[in-house]
């Protein structure tokens, strides 16, 4: 059966319309639990039983009142049995209301939770269903979600390794003010887990960067983000560290402030040395065009496929369009505008995509502007990208990979980057998904398949505010104003 046909059937049954399901189609849907078959005698039996529901309910209530008026903890067995029967009849009544007749097979169908879920998937990805059989669709969705669970499992192993290493390390080596929390390590672990290699290698890579790099700064969050990004690169430690340190020197000559240099250099560390000059020149051009741009905004634009002048024009368009929709002022709005301007979508659709993402993310991040732009700027359709993000929330939650509820979306956003089902995974998709389908033609500088700059944006605009909130609020925040 084609996926489109499966979607049509499930949708009609969901809407309680007859779907003329053929025997072969029926077998495919019933055997996998997407529909439950109910024969006519069973349905008639339910109808007959449910006719007595009201009378049974009245008797149960009457007996319950008598039982409650009688001392003793336990309801009489007869009443317990009647309550159980009443609950069963109520279930049958609900089922009867959702049954749909199917003439070709002379039976009724009952929609199931699994059927509703697969219908939701088919609806979300319906633009991609053409030519795809239903079994293929199911397999691809299964593989994609299994890969998400594997990624979180890797992240959990990495976090465990980082914690163990931190706890067993000589206290003098890591001053208290530089030691990381569980929340910090989960953030780093989720970035590192994107590489499907032995978690212990990633743990030692992170610790080497954390402890053996001359950071020139005691900013803990910068060191966390920097170590995670550098350790995520698929090259040897010395090469990456060398590039990182040389980039910091280069940035000094391009007017980047000392406090920005760690993140700036980390975000550029994936670029081949031959392209550094081009990127830095673009940053200079962007700064000449708009002197107030901070480095993170400029780097997003400099790494985009657009010449500086066009990138700045897109940036202005994004700002104007966002302001027209009520999103005004502030560094987070500018960050969102630079992410949109650097994205692969057409100039005319940037803000529309952003608005769609904002409407779904409002309230999940504080503020949600940069995360919404990160989702809007990915190559999927906005609702597809939102769906991937929700899948990631489900996986992080069900894997219990968090301590604090406010970590869930932050971690899910990292997990969602580059990931999609049906071969739609895009840049930096290191999960065992499929090859990218929507690539931007490389211009100078080359588009890197790694996510260094994306992680910097995430670290700066998503993780840092959460880390600050956690650092400034006691864990037992809910017990403070306690009058009970």
């Amino acid at each position: 059966m084609e996926s489109d046909r499966a979607r049509a059937i499930l949708q009609m049954i969901q809407d309680r319309q007859e779907a003329s399901v053929q025997p072969s189609e029926r077998e495919e849907l019933v055997s996998q639990g997407f529909l439950v078959s109910v024969d006519a005698p069973t349905r008639d039996g339910w109808t007959a039983s449910v006719a007595g529901l009201a009378a049974l309910r009245d008797r149960v209530r009457e007996m319950s009142r008598v039982a409650l008026a009688t001392p003793g903890p336990v309801a009489p067995p007869e009443l317990q049995q009647m309550v159980a029967s009443l609950e069963e009849l109520t279930r049958q009544k609900t089922n009867l209301e959702t049954l749909v007749w199917n003439a070709p097979t002379q039976e009724y169908f009952l929609p199931t939770l699994a059927g509703r879920n697969v219908l939701a998937d088919l609806t979300t990805w319906q633009r991609r269903l053409e030519g795809r059989t239903f079994p293929d669709f199911l397999r691809e969705m299964y593989d994609y979600r299994a890969a998400l669970f594997q990624a979180v499992s890797r992240a959990s192993a990495i976090q465990g390794g980082l914690l163990w290493d931190e706890e067993t390390r000589d206290a003098e080596e890591t001053p208290m003010e530089l030691s990381f929390t569980n929340v910090d390590f989960r953030f780093a672990a989720m970035i590192l887990a994107k590489r499907a290699i032995n978690p212990s290698l990633l743990v030692s890579a992170f610790q080497m960067f954390h402890h053996d790099t001359n950071w020139g700064s005691l900013n803990k969050v910068d060191r966390l983000i920097g170590s995670a990004i550098l350790a995520s690169l698929p090259w040897d430690f010395a090469t990456v560290r060398n590039a990182f340190e040389r980039l910091r020197v280069e940035l000094q000559y391009h007017g980047v402030q000392p406090e920005d240099r760690i993140l700036a250099a980390a975000s550029l560390a994936d670029i081949p040395q031959s392209a550094w000059a081009e990127v830095l020149e673009r940053i200079d051009d962007l700064h000449r065009g708009r002197p107030t741009l901070n480095f993170l905004l400029a780097s997003a634009l400099a790494r985009s496929p657009y010449e500086p002048a066009e990138a700045l024009a897109r940036f202005e368009d994004a700002l104007t369009g966002m302001a027209a929709r009520g999103y005004k002022d502030g560094i987070h709005i500018e960050a969102a505008a630079s992410l949109l301007a650097a994205g692969p979508m057409a100039r005319e659709t940037m803000v529309e995509r952003f608005s769609v993402a904002m409407s779904h993310l409002a309230g999940t991040f504080d503020p949600a502007f940069a995360p919404a732009a990160m989702i809007a700027a990915n190559p999927l359709e906005p609702l597809e990208a939102i769906d991937v993000f929700r899948d990631c929330i489900a996986v992080v939650t069900r894997s219990s990979f968090y301590d604090l509820t406010l970590e869930i979306e932050e971690l899910a956003l990292i997990l969602s980057y580059g990931v999609a089902p049906m071969g739609l995974g895009y840049l930096a998709a290191n999960l065992p998904a499929a090859p990218p389908v929507q690539r931007v033609e490389p211009m100078a500088p080359p588009v890197s398949p790694l996510a260094t700059s994306w992680y910097v944006w995430h670290g700066h605009y998503v993780y840092r505010p959460i880390g600050w909130y956690i650092a400034t609020h006691p864990v037992h925040v809910h017990t403070v104003a306690a009058f009970g």
């Binding site: 309910r57 209530r61 009457e62 609950e87 403070v480 009970g484």
Partner: protein
Amino acid sequence: MVREAVWVPNDRVPLVRTRGELEVVGDPRFESFWSREVDGCYVPDLLWKAAGRPSGTPVEGVRDDNRSCLLPDRRLVIDDREYITAVKGCGAAMDAFENVPLNAVRARAICRDPRLSEALATEDGSGLITGERWFGNTPYGGQAPDNAMIGLLASLRADQAQIAGFQVCPVVSLVRLPDEYARIASRFFWYRRYEGAYWQEIRLMPSNVRVYFHSPLTFGVDTSRAFTLFGIETFEGAERFLTNLARSSFAALTLYARSLRHDAASGLYRGLDYQDVWLDKDAVVAADGTLHFADLEGIEDAIAAKPSTVKETIERQFHRHVYEASYALEALAVEVERRWRGFRGPSDRRRWILEVLQRACVADPFLSIEPTGDRLVLHIEPAVDTEACQVEIELASEVGS
């Protein structure tokens, strides 16, 4: 099968258990428990130190709310459900006027006796029963006898742990703080001295997860973590949990109706009503979803002279608390959607809640939920004078849109 009690770890509180000749008022049905398992009173160790360290046994409590502690190793099973002992009035964790721990430094700042102040000069620890008159006539950090007695009286109306389907955290006993401690506690106050005896309330709780406020993990705020704590791992498990939560919440919303009595001698109706208590901070959620009301000192009889007043009280009680109950049901459904998807948006989610709610309440003798056109109507039938006192309340409007 026994449904186990669950509790979220919180700050550990050093207490000292004092036994011996104590004044105790207890529920006779739980006598073996309060006279053997938990007998004694539990004083914060700061108070014990100020008293010159009289004989007693150190006990480690777990902070619950501001002036209570759990004793997780003291448990009792009632009707297949396990409960943990909680002591209310065993010292306040926080300063009454500042958001800081009530430790020895703070205690010395409110101490009216130089000798006591001196005795605490080198002590550490936090948590204190004070002599500050607070919220009417209650010692801050302790419990007043009248409030404790109201809680016990309400609990005595329960059959095991429920009053006509309304689940409560039973109060098993009240213990008077010995004078040697009460005298000291009365020397610590900020503005107004409390005049009266100091008591403690020993109650049983199935968990320390409150609906929205006052616990380290609340169901409404940390729903994800609550799912993990309660072991909800499947959609079916979540639906069972929702069924219990809905059933018990609606029992709480109709407490007055289900506890209504008519006194022929006086001609008055009496039913239980909530005073200064709320479902969001004064009730806890058990591991199977059953809402248990914890602060029974806030539940007292409300009197009505005629059926119209009864109906008004039923309606007022429902409308005063329905938002809190609905919030918990919605929080659960939102979390289900986050984990297992399956709903086609918020309206589908609400439809699920209402369907489960109808099923959950189908055997409730005091209420029924019926579709009427595109509305869902709650019919409340009080325990007495049903014909004259029954009430209909619109539960949901434009269902399906």
